[in-house]
């Protein structure tokens, strides 16, 4: 049923009835069905992983109970634990994974560079600088122990806001150079790397003069952790990620054209400069929100699109949704593992994304070529 729905969304069912005898279309149809199958399997896996993730923990509930709780049955045990802690945490992991991954896949296309990702443009480093500035200079870094050995940054919203401002400053500089200097994608990547180094140097400078409490607070903030987001944070992040994803999906034909080269894209009627600039802006904004709210999570934005490419190819009609699903899967998978690996300690997910993603990615690279 899901497959049928997807087929009708992709406009494939229309041609199936009248091209029955067309030998040429059959392989293409099979090829498309293969891609839709991948998307369907990823969706099902994501739902299952979500249920598993919210049902397991210090007080484990059955999958059936988890479903009951999801549908609002408050008589089931652990209702509060799930709604207040596990469900927002798991949803944050999915939303952040989707957001970083969709920003990555769009940047890889519009910058015409396989290394394109929110990291490559220096946005994450700028957010870290913003957080460091807030903690050390503004003084939001006084922190306290909270029962267990976890540390909590006081005035987390000021820190988050400062991180967001940092990310937006980097975004603004990038877009300014892109617009007024008509910079090529190659130059944009290099500007991004330079900005990343600049903000990292700025963070190190601040850290050098910080006391050990502030230093710990900054380091703590930079460990991306999906457990940090509240329902409100989640709603803000989900809104931004949804709008960005819709924007990228609407532009999928433009990105296909740009993938074929700027000249061809222009010849096909694409306003390449405008698509590139707005795409960078949307990707930067979505990254800024995610990084500001949950900290730095590397690797997802870079690698999830490439994992998706291994399965569905470079065609953006399938690559964008596939990247979203893989992003959600990888980050939720990593967070679930981060919760159970050293129980009762809960690791920040950022530590595990690369641990899990890198070997998987290298395996896929070797397997295909």
């Amino acid at each position: 049923m899901v497959l049928g729905f997807l087929k009708s969304r992709m406009g494939l069912d229309k041609k199936s009835h009248h091209d029955e005898n067309d030998g040429l279309n059959e392989p293409y149809r099979k090829y498309i069905v293969g891609k839709l199958l991948f998307l369907t399997v990823c969706t099902i896996l994501l739902i299952l992983l979500f249920l598993y993730s919210i049902s397991r923990g210090p007080s484990t509930v059955s999958l059936i109970d988890a479903v009951h709780i999801l549908f609002g049955n408050s008589t089931v045990n652990a209702y509060n634990i799930l709604w207040n802690i596990r469900i927002p945490r798991a949803l944050t992991a999915i939303v952040a994974g989707v957001g970083l991954s969709v920003a990555g896949v769009a940047l890889q296309s519009i910058l015409r560079n396989p290394l394109g990702s929110p990291y490559t443009l220096g946005i994450s480093n700028a957010a870290a600088f913003g957080a460091a500035f807030s903690v050390i200079v503004i003084g939001t870094g006084s922190m306290h122990s909270s029962g267990t050995d976890a540390v909590v940054v006081n005035q987390i919203y000021v820190t988050t806001f400062a991180a967001f401002i940092g990310a937006m400053i980097a975004t603004f500089i990038l877009l300014l150079i892109a617009k007024y200097k008509s910079a090529t994608p190659e130059v944009m990547i290099l500007v991004g790397v330079a900005l990343g180094s600049l903000f990292t140097a700025g963070t190190m400078f601040l850290q050098y003069f910080a006391d050990d409490v502030q230093l710990a607070a900054v380091v703590f903030w930079t460990f991306g952790d999906v457990g940090r987001a509240s329902w409100n944070d989640l709603i803000i992040m989900a809104s931004v990620v949804t709008i960005a994803t819709i924007y990228f999906i609407l532009n999928r034909w433009n990105y296909n054209a740009i993938d074929a080269g700027d000249e061809i894209a222009k010849g096909l009627g694409v306003n390449v400069d405008r698509v590139r600039l707005t795409g960078m802006m949307v990707a930067s904004v979505v990254t800024s929100f995610v990084v500001a709210l949950i900290g730095i999570i590397g690797f997802v934005g870079l690698v999830c699109p490439h994992i998706a490419r291994r399965f569905v190819g470079d065609e953006q009609r399938y690559l964008i949704p596939a990247s979203c699903l893989v992003g959600g899967l990888l980050l939720l998978g990593a967070d679930t593992a981060a919760r159970f690996m050293l129980e009762p300690h809960v690791l920040p997910v950022a530590i595990l994304t690369a641990f899990m993603g890198a070997p998987l990615f290298i395996y896929l690279l070797i397997k295909r070529y």
């Binding site: 009248h18 091209d19 293409y28 061809i264 010849g267 096909l268 009627g269 190819g313 470079d314």
Partner: protein
């Protein structure tokens, strides 16, 4: 549909690249732009469909001025095949389907798929259609690129060095294909070329560029030893073999 270009001018920053370019083309005609390296052949081609924005000039397709249309409307009237095309893990079929981009609102329609199937049959690309374009040869990719430009349903087809990366057999195949399409669909085509003899074999109009200006424009009659020497700086003679003219360098 006819093409008319008047007073076309293009500057790169402060340097004048093309000026006072004027020529016209009727349906069913193939024009080759000839001239030495760096004279602005590719630039002229890119100006015609506004990949580069001309400084001034008029580009009329039928009774519409291309300068006043938006990019998407230009794409419905002109197909452009550059010298090289980026490859990726995309099937030839999807690459050709991309040519329908100017017409696609959200999804490709039945009509789009039908046109792609039709072009694939006409250019004999059936065996290639499900292969990935990063796994096919340069000549095959060139044919796929031409198919993509053709599904744009253009009145004018622009080719930048369509034969530069091809062997003799495929050079002839591609040029015959272009000639065939131009004749059967009564569209016009403009090609940039280095090979004078191939140009003489397939084109019926010629534009000789020198120092950013039109040195000569016309039919076979302008391909004279004097004009060729003036443009390329190489003395040549023109021989006729089996009813066809050949340019032979004397240097």
């Amino acid at each position: 549909m006819s093409l008319l270009i008047q007073e076309l001018k293009f500057d790169f920053k402060t340097r004048s690249v093309l000026r006072d370019i004027e020529f016209g083309l009727k349906p069913g005609e193939i024009l080759t732009i000839l001239g030495p390296n760096g004279v602005g052949k590719t630039t002229l081609l890119r100006c015609i469909n506004r990949i580069l924005q001309p400084k001034k000039g008029v580009i009329m397709v039928g009774d519409e001025d291309i300068i006043s249309l938006n990019r998407n409307e230009v794409a419905k009237r002109m197909g452009y095949v550059p010298q090289r095309c980026e490859t990726g893990r995309i099937t030839a079929y999807d690459t050709i389907l991309l040519g329908r981009k100017p017409y696609i609102k959200f999804n490709a329609t039945n009509d789009d798929f039908e046109r792609v199937n039709d072009i694939i049959k006409r250019l004999d690309l059936s065996d290639l259609s499900m292969r990935f374009i990063d796994e096919i040869s340069g000549g095959e990719l060139q044919r796929v690129s031409i198919a993509r430009a053709l599904v744009q349903d253009p009145n004018i087809l622009l080719f930048d060095e369509p034969t530069s990366s091809l062997d003799l057999k495929h050079q002839l195949f591609i040029l015959r294909t272009i000639k065939n399409i131009v004749n059967t669909q009564q569209i016009s085509s403009i090609l940039t070329m280095h090979d004078l003899n191939l140009a003489l074999k397939f084109a019926n109009r010629y534009l000789l560029l020198k120092d950013g200006c039109v040195f000569a424009y016309g039919g076979d009659e302008i391909i004279t030893p004097e004009n060729i020497e003036a443009v390329y700086g190489v003395p040549v003679m023109i021989e006729k073999v089996n009813g066809q003219h050949f340019v032979v360098p004397l240097d």
